[in-house]
């Protein structure tokens, strides 16, 4: 049995028939081909699948795709404007906030959410803010710096 789903993903309205048990992350990856949203665990602990749903950071493995009905989903693929990277993306490159890159989309989405709520976070607030995401490569040192750089750039009027 499949049920209809209509949702907005990265600004485009999408309609599909989906299985009721399908997770949002499976919909994004398997049905829309948006493979930048990654799966790193099966217990909602790693945050690699973090996306924004109506502006809130959501681990897309914790949500059924049908729960996105009528809502707006932003994935890593929707962050850059064409070739123009978002300040958060640029900051991760500049500060070497990634190594293998697998957790990176989740961290970027979590950072976008964090900075949307708290444009000028302290270091402790940053560490708290990204605590739902796991990285095994960087030791988080440069991820924290990347968030700080992104915050500074956005504060100085950097383009989103």
């Amino acid at each position: 049995m499949k049920l209809p789903l209509t949702t907005t993903v990265n600004g485009t309205t999408r309609s599909h028939e989906v299985e009721p048990r399908q997770l949002l992350v499976q919909y994004l990856r398997d049905q829309l081909g948006l493979t930048g949203t990654h799966v790193g665990c099966d217990t909602s602990q790693c945050g690699a699948c973090t996306v924004l749903v109506d502006g809130d950071a959501v681990k897309s493995c914790t949500m059924l795709s049908l729960q996105a009905e009528g809502r707006s989903v932003e994935t890593i693929e929707g962050v850059a404007q064409g070739d123009q990277l978002d300040p958060v993306q640029r900051a991760f490159i500049e500060e070497h906030g990634l190594q293998c890159g697998y957790c990176t989309p989740g961290f970027i989405m979590a950072t976008k959410y964090l900075l949307s709520r708290n444009p000028n976070p302290t270091e402790d607030e940053i560490r708290e803010g990204i605590d739902g995401n796991l990285c095994r490569c960087t030791g988080y040192v440069n991820i924290v710096k990347a968030v700080q750089r992104a915050a500074a750039e956005l504060a100085s009027g950097g383009t989103r």
Partner: protein, 795 residues
């Protein structure tokens, strides 16, 4: 994302902006920050079916019956395979790449791990059946319908249990109980004599807990059989595609020309993905049987159960020393868990766990031994450091104990034992020849940065807040790189160049660092250099990346290739400029003519001539390509000093690291930004081992207790302290780049430094020993036990 700027072509500018030593931003990042990385799970082959593995719920059991009919009838199911099918197919099983006997040591007990268990299961999670279905969900649904009858046996997951007299045997045919091998280095007679005559000895029993690598990308394999040609393609999350090809072809009994292995982007490995796994072979076999591609992607739960783990060692070490703290001899008797089967690279940690025990110290007598012990756990394999952390941890703990015994400063006892700067090359009792190092200089720099001598005032400040402050230090040494490798440079008719790498970057940034080398050496525009790796059809041969090998072995091989290109191109350049070959030199990134500064040619321009359709190529040959190889025979030894200061809350046992200093000698640094990133990540893993990580099995049931990222102590951002890093480099003398290595360094240095600090904090309370991980409950328990025994003495 395309580079919008025009390429820089002036060699001097290339060198200044992109050359060796520059913190060039990574070329690979553009795809990762935009979600365009391509990992195995992102690869969609049309009409691919999906596989799920039925796994043993028991740690140790005989398989007495199988019923798979219900699973076969489940919706969407295309194929069900069990150990019976494996036996019928005659597949051999995964076996060790090297056993002790291959290295001249006493013979061990070789195992063959079937790709699905045949007669017996030897750890929780071992595969017993494969389901292939139209969708991943249908395959997962059918898993529950497979019925396997088990005759459950007692299990041994802990080294003490597995090595006990009369323990149940993991392998019935092993002639020495659960002992897989014995390894030994050193001189028994000299060591015994030194101990007998020594005025002081200290002795410790230490546990190096079992660790899970946990790269954020779980393992995955996509297998495809090509009916028309009788060949296979495997996409797999591997650090070592050529190695995987060799292992898988051995298992399936096919020629290596029949299998192409592709590692796309790989989301971390840390050694765990250096070997192939049963699922790699299963998806290929299943694809042949159903005539469609087969995809298997591990869940995290499966990874936790079945990935090779690291460490899991128990060691008793003894140090003999004189009144001045000078080491007279060192002795170690260890056991290391092997797991249910010997992993292909399973021997590696045991070897390094012994060979680095003498460390950076002038040790004249040593006897170090280890036994590999079969356990009902997932197989043990190399994990970031692979034995080097075990070795360095033992020696550093022993030196701390000796310093305390003599009332010596912990830095001072190390100073008194360092191999001196003018003692190189220095031959260790464990058959290494160290080429270079300035251990004293590195230590002094670290002490200064960390304000080692100013500790007491900070301790008093912590005490005023009710906290116990401790400081600790460690010195470590390791070997960068193992085996040989091959790198190639291929020019194209347009005059741009591709690096064809035998190594395999999976987070280390090779696409950037190797291009930095080529840009500098050949004066090539950095932005136009292409990087090829990870495909056995595109790369003639390689051994992948692990053991901190790529900068030294890959980089040196690349230098040989670059030099070969210059030699090959020089006569062509001379002909094109109409001068004698002897007058042409490649300097500062271009071909120049001695005595005629007006004449010069870029490498690109000369390369293009190698692709003229006729004429000059008749003399010089078609195409400009060059390959180079390098080998670990020319050893190198990164080393460094870590200093840790932390606070322990005696009420809760919680440990919080306050400040942390790492000073490293990694030789010549290709890209300081990337090197520092390796130190950060390595530290996090070393800190994880010291404080929170433990892949724990229940000793009774053999069940894995740390089976998810919630149960396993994965370091999160809030746990990481401010890190201070510094390089105090002594160029390596055994390779043309002067590089050492950086990938494993911090994972090795951190556990002893942190444990040194924890014990320093707890010492005033009477705590003298603690094993890793120093979790709050362990620390709290140690404080209580010490308090109880102190009370016992006074009452």
């Amino acid at each position: 994302m395309a580079h919008s700027e025009a390429s820089v072509t002036d060699p001097a500018t290339i060198k200044a902006r992109f050359g060796i030593g520059q913190s060039v931003r990574r070329v690979e990042d553009a795809r990762f920050v935009t979600g365009h990385g391509r990992y195995v799970g992102d690869i969609v082959i049309p009409f691919s079916a999906h596989a799920a593995v039925v796994r043993s719920p028991h740690a140790h059991a005989r398989i007495t019956g199988r019923s798979v009919e219900a699973a076969r009838r489940s919706p969407g199911v295309l194929l069900v395979l069990t150990g019976d099918d494996v036996l019928a197919a005659g597949f051999k099983g995964f076996t060790a790449s090297a056993m002790p006997e291959d290295l001249g040591a006493p013979k061990g007990h070789r195992t063959f791990r079937p790709i699905l268990a045949t007669d017996k299961v030897r750890f929780v999670g071992e595969g017993v059946a494969l389901i292939v279905a139209e969708t991943a969900a249908q395959a997962a649904d059918a898993v529950a319908l497979v019925e396997i009858d088990y005759d459950v046996l007692p299990s041994v997951t802990h080294l003490d249990d597995a090595s006990a007299e009369g323990a149940v045997q993991v392998h019935d045919d092993c002639p020495s109980g659960n002992m897989a091998w014995v390894l030994r280095f050193g001189d028994q007679e000299a060591t015994d004599a030194a101990f007998a005559a020594a005025p002081h000895t200290v002795s410790l029993r230490l546990e190096n807990s079992r660790l899970s690598a946990n790269p954020i990308e779980p393992r995955g394999s996509v297998g495809e059989y090509h009916q028309a040609t009788g060949t296979y393609t495997l996409h797999t999350s591997s650090q070592n595609p050529h190695g995987a090809r060799h292992e898988i072809c051995g298992v399936l009994g096919i020629a290596e020309t029949k299998l192409r292995v592709v590692s796309p982007d790989v989301g971390g490995g840390f050694g765990m993905k250096a070997d192939a796994y049963p699922e790699d072979a299963l998806v290929l076999w299943a694809s042949r049987l159903i005539g469609r591609a087969v995809t298997w992607i591990a869940t995290r739960s499966e990874s936790m159960l079945t990935d090779t783990n690291g460490r899991d060692q128990v060691v008793r070490g003894e140090l003999a020393f004189d009144d001045n703290g000078k080491i007279l001899a060192i002795r170690a008797m260890a056991m290391q868990a092997v797991g249910g089967y010997i992993a292909p690279a399973g021997l590696v940690p045991s070897i390094f766990s012994l060979r680095f025990i003498p460390s950076v110290y002038d040790v004249k007598a040593a006897l170090v031994m280890t036994r590999g012990i079969f356990t009902n756990t997932s197989p043990l394999g190399p994990y970031r450091g692979a034995g080097r952390p075990e070795a360095n941890y033992l020696t550093e703990r022993l030196l701390d104990a000796a310093a305390i015994e003599l009332g010596l400063d912990r830095a001072e006892i190390r100073r008194r034992n360092f191999i001196a700067k003018d003692d190189f090359p220095y031959k260790t009792q464990t058959m290494f020849t160290y080429d270079s190092g300035d251990f004293r200089g590195v230590l002094d720099r670290a002490l200064e940065i960390a304000d080692w001598n100013g500790f007491e005032s900070r301790r008093a400040d912590s005490a005023s807040r009710g906290l116990l402050r401790g400081q600790g230090l460690s010195y470590f040494i390791e070997q960068g790189g193992v085996f040989n490798d091959r790198m190639e440079l291929r020019f194209d008719p347009g005059g741009t160049v591709s690096i064809v790498a035998g190594t395999f970057s999976h987070g280390q940034g090779h696409e950037t660092t190797f291009a930095q080398m080529v840009a500098e050496w050949l004066g090539m525009p950095f932005e136009d250099i292409r990087f090829i790796q990870g495909d056995t059809d595109a790369v003639p041969f390689g051994r992948g990346t692990y053991a901190a090998r790529s900068s030294m072995i890959g980089g040196s091989a690349l230098k040989v290739a670059a030099d070969a290109i210059i030699e090959r191109a020089r006569p062509m350049a001379a002909a094109l400029m109409e001068v004698a070959v002897e007058d042409v030199n490649f300097t500062e990134g271009s071909f120049q003519v001695s005595g005629d500064p007006e004449k010069s040619m870029s490498m690109s321009a000369v390369a293009r001539a190698f692709y003229y359709p006729r004429g000059i190529t008749d003399k010089f040959g078609v195409g400009l390509m060059g390959a180079g190889t390098w080998s670990t025979e020319r050893e190198n030894f990164p080393n460094g000093c870590h200093i840790c200061e932390l606070e322990v809350d005696p009420e809760t046992g919680e440990v919080v690291i306050d400040r942390y200093v790492m000073v490293d000698d990694i030789g010549v640094t290709i890209n300081p930004m990337i090197a520092e990133g390796q130190l950060h990540g390595g530290f996090a893993q070393g800190m994880g081992q010291a404080l929170i990580e433990h892949q724990a099995y229940d000793r009774e049931s053999g069940q894995l207790m740390s089976g998810s990222l919630g149960d396993y102590g994965m370091p999160r951002a809030v746990l990481i302290p401010t890190l201070t890093t510094a390089f105090q480099n002594t160029p390596c003398l055994t390779n043309p780049l002067g590089v050492k290595a950086v990938g494993e360094a911090a994972t090795i240095g951190a556990p002893p430094a942190i444990m040194s600090a924890v014990l320093d904090a707890l010492r005033p309370l009477g705590v003298t020993h603690l094993d890793m991980p120093a979790t709050p409950d362990r620390v709290w328990e140690a404080i209580r036990t010490a308090a109880a025994s102190t009370e016992g003495v006074t009452s």
